[in-house]
Each structure stands twice: as structure tokens, then as C-alpha cells.
């Protein structure tokens, strides 16, 4: 039997959705293909591992950001939280005699727990201010951006926290079966978030609270609680990212993470999540983060001059999203 009109309609719809869903993936693949031709090293295992590692910190931040943006919010504070969680946790894991925490170094697990805790607390404050005091998230988290940076500098006295223990640095420097720890952690965060967003009740509520907060509330969703939690998630992940960064660079820097929020938001938006909430996927964010990292890596590999790099990077990313849009429109 030839397809009925309604069947063929569904099929077209499917194609359209497929295009929309994976349009940016096409752009990513395209950029990769170009780079593979332009530079012989691009496709080496080693470089691909590098790219993944270079994606991981922004990727983790971007995943937290995805939760926030899905609820129509934005979290500008992640960069500062990276630094704060970094120095606080590092201060428990440094062998330097100048340490501000007496009795150290403490076991890495303990230090790491504290770092996540710092992130969670920052997120909690953001969340309370946004959800219960109805301050626009832009303002609330901009305040945190400033305050957390100030606290970082105060806590560390403006100096880096150096000489981290090897066990602490494990999360930044070691590998499991050839996969660097930051990548492993990123993968964990990614799959956990994917599961939460697609399969759990909380995930449904995130989409609902972002898609139509009033209707969600009428349906019994505790929208304020959802809003609170997404900032906690973003804060906690920023804390984790901060420690991975400290572990990678070998010391926790007070200037770490400056302007990281922009790249994180960019990954989310490139990945197709709408800033007006309710629509988006963590898979898209992954692709977005990879795209940014690949572009950076490729331009470095080809030895493109600094000035041109910035111009080209800007154009490439816009072009990728343009391609994505054109595809989804046509489909």
C-alpha cells in the first residue's frame, strides 16, 4: 500500500526533526573533514585525545549551563566558581608550607568533596536569589561572578595555591586505558546528565519549567525547586571543573576561569538549546563544545597567526550555526 498522506507527512516531519537535531553535527563533521585535509596531525589519535581533553572543562561547564538555560535562566558565575572551588579545594591538597589550611595536605577525596561543596553552595545562593527573590538570573549570577572572584582572591591572598598533591592531580593528569581523566569525568557527567534530562522526572520538570512555567506550576511541578536545583547543578559542576583545571595546571590560580561563561553558553546555544528555555539537548551541547574545541585546536595546529585566528574562529562558528539553520529551514 502506498503511503497515506498522513504517513508521508510523518516521514517528512521525521526528516525535518532529524535535520534539526543533527544539523550542527553535520557542521562539526564538515569542519573536521576540512581540518583533516588541512593538517596531517589532526586525525591522529593523540590529537583527538587532546581535543577531547581540551573539550572537557568547557564541556562540563556547558552541561551545567544547559540545565540552567533550559529553565530560561543563565549562569554567568561559572568562571568565578571555577576559580573559587579550585583554590579552596587546592588549599586542602597542597604540600606548600605556605598553606592557609593547617594540618594539610588532606586526602584528595576530602579536598575534592570540599571543592564540589563550594560550587554547590554558590549555586544554591544563585538559585535562591533567582527562584525565591525573583531577581533576573543575569543579574543574580553576575553578582556571583563578581563576589566569587573577590572571595577567591581574598581566600588565596591573591596568590596561586601551588604544589598540589599527586593524588589530587590525578583527576587532571592521569589516564584510564589511554583516556585522560578529565575526559573520563566529562563522559560521566555527560551520560549522567543525558539520563537525568531524558529519563527522570526531574528532567521532565526542567523542560516543563522552561517551556511554560505557569502551566508547569498548574500541573503540580514545583517550579521554584526546579529552578533552585539547576543552579545547584551548574554550581556543582563548575566546582568540579575548577578542580580538574587546577589538577591539570598543577596549581589553583585565582585568575582561573575568567570569561569561561561565554564559551560555556556558546556551546549550549550552538548545540541548539534555546535561550528562551524549554528546548534543547545535552547532546547538542556536547557537539557545540566539541565544535569550539576543534576549531581552536585546528587553528593552532595549522599555525594560523593569532590575529587571524580570532577572526576565523568567529566566522567559523557563525558559519556552522548558519549551516545548521539553513538545513533545518530547508528540511
Amino acid at each position: 500500500m502506498p503511503g497515506t498522506p498522513s504517513q508521508s507527512r510523518n516521514f517528512k516531519l521525521l526528516v525535518a526533526q532529524y535535520g534539526q537535531k543533527y544539523g550542527i553535527l553535520v557542521a562539526l563533521v564538515l569542519v573536521c573533514v576540512i581540518l583533516a585535509f588541512a593538517n596531517e596531525y589532526f586525525l591522529t589519535t593523540r590529537n583527538l585525545v587532546n581535543v577531547l581533553r581540551q573539550t572537557s572543562i568547557n564541556g562540563i561547564l556547558a552541561i551545567g549551563m544547559t540545565f540552567v538555560i533550559l529553565t530560561r535562566g543563565i549562569d554567568l558565575s561559572v568562571g568565578s566558581v571555577v576559580a573559587l572551588a579550585g583554590v579552596v579545594s587546592a588549599s586542602f591538597a597542597t604540600t606548600a608550607t605556605t598553606a592557609m589550611v593547617p594540618g594539610g595536605p588532606y586526602p584528595a577525596v576530602f579536598a575534592l568533596a570540599i571543592g564540589v561543596l563550594v560550587g554547590v553552595v554558590c549555586g544554591l545562593i544563585n538559585g535562591v536569589i533567582v527562584a525565591f527573590f525573583r531577581v533576573p538570573s543575569f543579574v543574580a549570577t553576575l553578582g556571583m561572578l563578581s563576589a566569587a572572584r573577590g572571595l577567591t582572591l581574598l581566600y588565596a591572598g591573591g596568590k596561586p595555591v601551588p604544589a598540589l598533591t599527586d593524588s589530587f592531580r590525578y583527576i587532571g593528569t592521569e589516564s584510564i586505558l589511554g583516556v585522560p581523566m578529565p575526559v573520563v569525568l566529562f563522559a560521566l557527567v555527560f551520560f549522567a546528565s543525558l539520563w537525568v534530562l531524558t529519563s527522570t522526572r526531574f528532567g521532565r520538570h526542567v523542560y516543563a519549567a522552561g517551556g511554560n512555567p505557569h502551566a508547569a506550576r498548574v500541573s503540580g511541578v514545583n517550579v521554584n525547586r526546579v529552578r533552585l536545583l539547576v543552579y545547584v547543578i551548574s554550581g556543582g559542576l563548575a566546582g568540579a571543573a575548577g578542580m580538574i583545571l587546577a589538577a591539570r595546571t598543577g596549581s589553583a590560580l585565582t585568575q582561573a576561569g575568567i570569561a569561561y561563561e561565554l564559551d560555556a553558553i556558546a556551546a549550549v546555544v550552538i548545540g541548539g538549546t534555546s535561550l528562551s528555555g524549554g528546548v534543547g539537548k545535552v547532546t547538542g551541547t556536547l557537539i557545540g563544545a566539541l565544535l569550539i574545541a576543534v576549531v581552536n585546536n585546528g587553528l593552532d595546529l595549522m599555525g594560523v597567526e593569532s590575529y587571524y585566528q580570532q577572526v576565523i574562529k568567529g566566522m567559523l562558528i557563525v558559519a556552522a550555526v548558519m549551516l545548521d539553520q539553513a538545513r533545518s529551514k530547508q528540511a
Binding site: 529519563s199 527522570t200 500541573s219 524549554g278
Partner: protein, 493 residues
């Protein structure tokens, strides 16, 4: 006598100094359909949202099964066995129908995972039992307004509540869908549930309700059994004065063709649409939901791409590519979805009223504020729009008054041809009559009206001629003399 499921007394609510509700009173008995009637802005939705715990109240008491209750949030009301279909639809666009229906009560499988399989199955069973013909897995944003409304209904019924509030559930529905809803309401009634039913379509109320309560200007004015009241008497209670006739029709079609459409195609499924609308004529496009009527209008308005066909205005061929051209040529278009395509909810009443007429209210680039104010006041008066000030955000108006703002916008442009897509959706009887009068006067003065309507009463009362569409094609044309509910349905279905 059985205990009331819900009893409300002395409910009060004001918004920034404006009383929306000054004495809300209501009593719902089990196994009954109780109509809540009142003009636009009478406070019905305010009343119902307070009962549901969506808004808080200034004063008043609510008794549920005789016990006083205070709902801080809607989920409290759900827990007490009350559910609601809100007047303004609340779809979560990116989620599926099943997810929308089970939002907040998703069935869980192991490890806290949502049990999608059972959710989809149960949602589909529900939809099928209601004969709504919607797939539970469709994403909400791919549905039409009417289908969303049906999902909303299914959702309210899925709560298995004892009290079900329906705030204008049929305003976006056609006859066939509405009768499915009525069947469902009948089953609920038989099961001893109580239904609060709001609608401005009085025929529906006389068809399904057992009792009525009327609010006027935020005050309770009366209640009783439907069996004891006549349509005229009910209208008088709602409007506050006797209304001699519901339809005003004084126009007579002329000979000159105002809008001529030939072999028009729209999208890829509306084909070969041809009709003429004459000066002085009210031409109705009738059809079932999804028959393609709105698509014809959108094509005429330059919102969808040219798929062939010829359009003439007063004999002159036109090629309208974008709305501004249509407006410039004297067309006006009241869209069916006032929230999506009609109002700028964040702007005030004046801005909304003047939006399509800005070019006539300016001097060079500068707006003439006095003329804007005067023009907007003119429309507020003409349509008796109930608002404390025309600087109030239009989102603060009651649903019916919002609809009047959309109408006012287009009448302000002084059009030659009016395209109205379900123009009286959610409008109260009094105001409907006003709108009919204005339409009729407009036609009488030599304008042409093309109206889409799903309300058979309205079509029978107002149409000079009816073009019936079915599945994107014209299935027949009926002159006024041939009009009857049966003949319409015969061509449409």
C-alpha cells in the same frame, strides 16, 4: 440532600486597585454540570483560578466537602480532587502529548526512571477513549490549537478528579470535537463528579448544564436550575439588561466583487480555492477543524508562499507578498489565535489597538500621541472593552476583552475587506451582538466580510453565503436561503 462538593462564599480579589472579583459565590453538587456564566471580565477566570490555588485571594472562604480549605498551590487542589482546564492553554511546546498529560505525575520505573512506555500507553488509551484522534507521542508544538485544547481536556480528565473546572474548553473547538467532550462530560456526571463549566456559547450551556451561576462585574447575581430559566432570561442576567435579539443583520450583498479568489493553492494541501466576496456581503468559510480555512487566509495575507492562484481586489489583480501590502490595500485580518499571532501581550492596550494603523497616526517618523490616544479610545468605546486605562498591559484583560482588542485593531484601519478568523471566540453574548452589529454596519456601508466560523449558530445568523471546505478543497457553496445546520454538516463532513 447530598453534600456540596464545593462551596465558595464571598471570594474577593483585586489587581493593583482594580477589583476583579468582589463577591464570588458558588455551590457545586455531585453528579452535576454547573455553568458559570458572565460577561467578559465578570471575574469567572479569576474565581476559578483562585479555587484552583493558582492565585491567592483577598477574602472569602472555600469549602470542599464541607471542610474549609486553603490551597497555596495548584498541586494542593489536585490533591483535594480538583482539576482545571484553564482558559489560556498551557502547552509545554517541546514535550510530547503524553508528557504534557502526565506532567507532575509521571509514572516511574526502576531507578527513578520515567516509565515512558506505560505513560504513552495510558495517555493513548485515554485519548482513544475520548475519540480525540491524537497520537500520544506527537510533540505538542506540532499540534493545532484545537488539538492542544483537546490534550488539555484529556489532561484534566486524567487526574480522575471529583471536581473538574472547564474554563471555555470549546472556544477553540469545532462541533464534532465539542460533542465528544460533551459525551465525556456525560460519563463524568454519571459517575457522580461535579463539573464547573464556563462558555459563552449559550446553546452549549442549555445542552449540557444542570444549573447555572451568573457573575456580573465581579459580583454574584444569581443561580438556579437550567430547566427553570429561559435563554432570554439568562442573557438578561449576564448582560444586565434585556437583549432583544442575538444577531444583528441589516446588510444586503451588492453586485460589485470586492475580493475575488481564483484557483488559489496554499501550502501543499489546500488546492484550487475559488470564491468571490461582494461589497455588502458577509461570506463565511465553513468547515471542520483542519479543513484548511485558516490556511487560505494566511496565504491571502502573504504569510505563506505563493503556490499559484489569482487574487483580485475590486477587480484589480494583486500580488500580496507580505502583510504590510495587504494592509495598504485595505485588507484586515483577525487571526484565530490571539495569543500567538494576535496580541503583543507585553504591550498596553493602546499599543495593541494602534499597531496596524501606525502609518495613519504619525507625522513623518513621529507618532501623534493625541491621535493615538483618541483612536484607541474610539475602539474601546466601539467594542466596550473593559479596562481601567488603555495604558494597562493587555495581558491584564479578561480573555474576551483581549479578543475585542484584536478586533479593534483591525477596525481602526478602516478596511475595505475584513478577514475574520473565528472573531467571536471567547466573547460574551452582549459583546458578540455588538460585533455582529459592527460587522453588519461595515457590510452595509459597502465593505466585504469574509469570516471563518465554526459556530453553527453564528453562521446561520450572519452569513449571506457560505463556502464549505473539506480537506483543503471547496466542497460546496450555500446561499443564505439554503442554510441549515444539516446542510452545513453534510458538506463539511
Amino acid at each position: 440532600m447530598a453534600e456540596a462538593l464545593l462551596q465558595v462564599r464571598g471570594l474577593k480579589k483585586h489587581f493593583g486597585g482594580v477589583a476583579a472579583l468582589s463577591n464570588g459565590q458558588f455551590c457545586l453538587m455531585p453528579g452535576s454540570v454547573h455553568a458559570l456564566c458572565g460577561g467578559n471580565g465578570a471575574g469567572k477566570s479569576t474565581f476559578l483560578t483562585i479555587v484552583m490555588g493558582i492565585q491567592d485571594r483577598d477574602a472569602g472562604i472555600i469549602l470542599r466537602n464541607g471542610r474549609e480549605v486553603v490551597f497555596a498551590k495548584p498541586s494542593d487542589a489536585h490533591a483535594a480532587g480538583i482539576s482545571i482546564i484553564e482558559q489560556e492553554l498551557g502547552p509545554i511546546p517541546a514535550m510530547t502529548v503524553a508528557e504534557n498529560i502526565f506532567l507532575g505525575r509521571e509514572p516511574l520505573a526502576r531507578f527513578g526512571r520515567v516509565d515512558f512506555a506505560s505513560m504513552n500507553r495510558r495517555a493513548q488509551e485515554l485519548l482513544d477513549s475520548l475519540e480525540f484522534g491524537i497520537s500520544a507521542r506527537t510533540v505538542m508544538m506540532d499540534l493545532t490549537v484545537a488539538e492542544m485544547q483537546l490534550v488539555e481536556i484529556a489532561k484534566a480528565l486524567s487526574h480522575d478528579a471529583e471536581v473538574i473546572i472547564m474554563d471555555e474548553p470549546t472556544s477553540a473547538l469545532g462541533g464534532a470535537e465539542a460533542s465528544r467532550l460533551f459525551a465525556a462530560i456525560g460519563r463524568l456526571k454519571a459517575a457522580g463528579k461535579g463539573i464547573i463549566y464556563v462558555s459563552h456559547r449559550l446553546s452549549e450551556i442549555f445542552q449540557i448544564a444542570d444549573s447555572y451561576t451568573v457573575f456580573r462585574d465581579g459580583e454574584f447575581v444569581g443561580e438556579g436550575a437550567i430547566a427553570d430559566v429561559s435563554r432570554e432570561a439568562l442573557i438578561q442576567m449576564i448582560v444586565g439588561r434585556p437583549l432583544t435579539e442575538e444577531f444583528v443583520k441589516e446588510n444586503t450583498p451588492g453586485d460589485e466583487v470586492a475580493l475575488s479568489v481564483r484557483h488559489l493553492n496554499a501550502l501543499d494541501w489546500v488546492k484550487d480555492i475559488s470564491f468571490d466576496a461582494h461589497r455588502g456581503e458577509i461570506l463565511v468559510l465553513y468547515g471542520l477543524m483542519g479543513s484548511g480555512r485558516s490556511e487560505v487566509f494566511e496565504r491571502l495575507w502573504g504569510l505563506s508562499e505563493d503556490r499559484g492562484g489569482e487574487v483580485r481586489l475590486f477587480g484589480q489583480p494583486t500580488n500580496i507578498r507580505k502583510p504590510a501590502q495587504a494592509i495598504a490595500q485595505g485588507l484586515a485580518f483577525v487571526t484565530e489565535d490571539r495569543k500567538e499571532t494576535g496580541l503583543v501581550l507585553t504591550s498596553d492596550v493602546r499599543a495593541n489597538l494602534c499597531l496596524a494603523h501606525l502609518d495613519q497616526l504619525r507625522l513623518g517618523p513621529v507618532m501623534l500621541k493625541r491621535r493615538e490616544a483618541a483612536a484607541s479610545q474610539r475602539m474601546i468605546d466601539a467594542f466596550s472593552i473593559k479596562t481601567p486605562s488603555d495604558r494597562l498591559e493587555v495581558s491584564g484583560l479578561s480573555g474576551g476583552n483581549q479578543q475585542k482588542v484584536v478586533l479593534g485593531r483591525w477596525f481602526m484601519t478602516d478596511p475595505k475587506v475584513l478577514m475574520l478568523d473565528e472573531p467571536t471566540r471567547g466573547v460574551d453574548v452582549g459583546a458578540k451582538r455588538e460585533i455582529y452589529r459592527i460587522m453588519s454596519e461595515f457590510a452595509k456601508a459597502g465593505g466585504a466580510v469574509v469570516m471563518i466560523s465554526s459556530e453553527a449558530d453564528e453562521v446561520l445568523g450572519m452569513a449571506d453565503r457560505v463556502v464549505v471546505l473539506r480537506d483543503g478543497r471547496i466542497s460546496g457553496v450555500l446561499e443564505r436561503a439554503e442554510l441549515s445546520a444539516e446542510s452545513l454538516l453534510h458538506l463539511a463532513a
